[in-house]
Symmetry: C2
Subunit: 413 residues, 2 copies
């Protein structure tokens, strides 16, 4: 279960009702017209799971992902947070960047005989991913036309160049619906296939996401409409959206959020204005010792969202030990770390509120696949709502094309 | 060697000469009066290395750090980037957060017989660190008054409560100078002692830092004065400072930068105004697939600094393999990944410049301990300069105290 609360400082509520209704209608239209497909993934992706469940991965120990951006961030987000709570999961290795040091390190960890490989690219020609694939073919001596091809899975758009490649060599292929963009694709084959193979409860993830989306369209999640409107109405004075997660293993989820938020909303709007909200991911309590000072005393240009986990279900108490000379910390003795980290979140939030800064909180009762699915759906819907209010095309990314053109030109294509 | 270049859009240069001269004089005064001590660490910390070199750590395989914020970020930054380039280094484990999941995981990795333990806290009573220490004492059955005490090192302020604890049990103790704040302490005992024990070339780190600081005070690093002034003069319209590092292993250095920048500059200035520059760390090429769209088309409120590594000294070429159907990526064949990642940095930078956004670049010829020392010193001096220009107390952090008071109260001290 996810609980949503907010401590927003009341400000102008320009046309709040109209803004909310229009955005809600926009999302409804996106879904009903099938223009945007992520709303339907919780049911549509079930067929992928059925297909993959018929295959045998018993001898597989490693799941190797070649993908970057939307083709890796969501998978990493889910794996990181669910891994301690999931039994018999396989190791996942990620080949993302074109950094030679980490590329060599990760290749060195691959045990080809016990590994399965996923090449994930929506367009099919992502330069990091195809270069990595070529490197693996050479360094692991992968025979594309022999037995090895059974261990290669392509996840890509129908009829993409990667799809053509997969068909040519008879690889297993799974497609991403045309109406699902890369950063909204975590619940498509992109995330669901490798995570199912790695042993995660993807049906429960989809169930949690599906329930949230259904509940939203049934007008039962009004808090998200209120929040989107608040972020939108204050977007020029509070353009920085901070996600402060109180759990180390949520760090990859905040990275997934940064892509979703930054790339969806950072746009030239319909009237030619540069708009967008700048996402920042923090981890508590660590970043209380870093970024917090800036929030409390710096410019009031931030809205802070906390994510806390009520019950980590693994815990240990601060032992009843007195350290000679440091008796002043004895007040914490006997308290559990679970209690401590949540008390730190509460105290930090309270201090931020007292400084006159807006906060809201997503409280997760337990780390379950269903809850994580709901959390992902929550952020996708929130992004779509704010995008609709900002009057931008939430689902494209024209700004990154110029860099690609320059790269191709500079490297002498 | 570090090379500094910039592509700033010329704007108002209000009193540039005066601003620069005043800030330079402030730093000189800070150093000469010994009010601020980090400028002298490159020579002062040498005695720590001499002392530690007389001890024998041959049988030690793990270096366990208990510390958070300024007591861990700098160590992690240096370890991450230098590890692939350093021989015979020991494994480093970090116990930072009060998260029960990662705490249990890390404790499970400790091999007590072959480990050495550093308790690092400037004040000596950091709640995460003392709680972690108590937990290790219990779970690893550490006998504070027996042989085990030889494997415990305290790094803290002279006469702090942790110092009293260390003296009581006869632990090895190293002190942080009173005039060196936590986030400026990476080159004090905080970073230098554990990194020396772990096998890193800390003398070279200090040499690189010392040379940069000397060169700065000898008026040979004017680029940093220009940059500080530019950031300051544009701080109200471009309040977001993005550090875009093109190497996976620089991610921890960007986290160190985030603390240094955010906590030093996010302040109420001498006139009562909330000021500060919001730091954001990105990793290239990964974040080209995430945050870049927002930079290019979103609000023009960011100044982007690139860090690139000219020669990674480990490399592999994209093999000369044609993927059937994906021939369009063959232009990259035979190119090294080292060349590719730097070409991506260049292309991204060019696309950002063409969008009318300020950039500057720190180009590192090779990853050496000396270069990393210089880079750390560069950022410390830059922070001090901008802090002086903003008229804030760069070295305190009053904003985080309220949260601590509330925490102590809520947990019933």
């Amino acid at each position: 279960m996810l609980k949503f609360t907010s401590n927003y400082i009341k400000q102008t509520e320009n046309n709040k009702e109209t803004i909310i209704q229009n955005a809600f209608d926009t999302l409804k239209e996106e879904r009903d017209s099938k223009k945007i497909g992520y709303y339907d993934l919780p049911t549509d992706s079930l067929s992928h799971i059925e297909r993959i469940e018929k295959m045998n991965f018993d001898n597989i120990k490693q799941v190797v992902i070649m993908g970057i951006g939307g083709s890796s961030l969501g998978i990493k987000a889910i794996e990181s947070i669910l891994q301690p709570y999931s039994k018999n999961t396989k190791e996942m290795l990620f080949l993302e960047n074109s950094d030679p040091i980490t590329l060599l390190e990760t290749i060195g960890k691959i045990d080809k005989e016990n590994a399965i490989f996923f090449i994930i690219s929506k367009s099919g020609s992502t330069i990091e991913t195809t270069s990595t694939l070529k490197t693996l073919i050479k360094y692991l001596d992968i025979d594309l036309d022999g037995e090895d091809s059974k261990k290669l899975f392509a996840i890509t758009d129908n009829n993409s160049v990667l799809s053509n490649f997969a068909k040519h060599h008879g690889l297993n292929e799974f497609n991403i619906p045309d109406n699902v963009g890369g950063r909204f694709s975590v619940l498509s084959a992109v995330g669901i296939i490798p995570l199912t193979v790695a042993g995660y409860d993807t049906k429960a993830i989809l169930k949690g996401a599906g329930n949230f989306i259904e509940s939203f369209f049934n007008n039962k999640e009004n808090h998200i409409l209120e929040k989107a409107c608040y972020l939108y109405n204050n977007s020029s004075t509070k353009p920085i959206s901070v996600l402060f997660s109180y759990a180390d293993r949520l760090e990859n989820l905040t990275k997934w959020f940064v892509q979703l938020w930054g790339e969806s909303l950072g746009k030239i709007d319909i009237e030619g204005n540069r708009v967008g909200l700048t996402p920042i991911g923090l981890t508590g309590a660590v970043d209380q010792h870093s970024f917090l000072q800036l929030i409390i005393e710096g410019p009031k240009d931030k809205i802070i969202t906390f994510i806390t986990i009520e019950d980590f279900e693994r815990d240990l108490n601060v032992p009843n030990i007195t350290l000679k000379g440091i008796e002043k910390t004895d007040f914490i003795n006997g308290t559990s770390f679970n209690t401590l980290i949540n008390a730190q979140a509460d105290a930090t939030k309270q201090s931020i509120i007292e400084s006159g800064i807006d906060t809201d909180t997503i409280s997760i009762d337990k780390i379950t696949a269903e809850n994580i699915g709901a959390l992902l759906a929550y952020y996708e819907v929130l992004t779509s709502l704010v995008g609709a209010m900002l009057n931008v095309d939430t689902y494209n990314q024209p700004g990154v094309e110029l860099g690609k053109v320059i790269l191709y030109k500079n490297l002498g294509e």
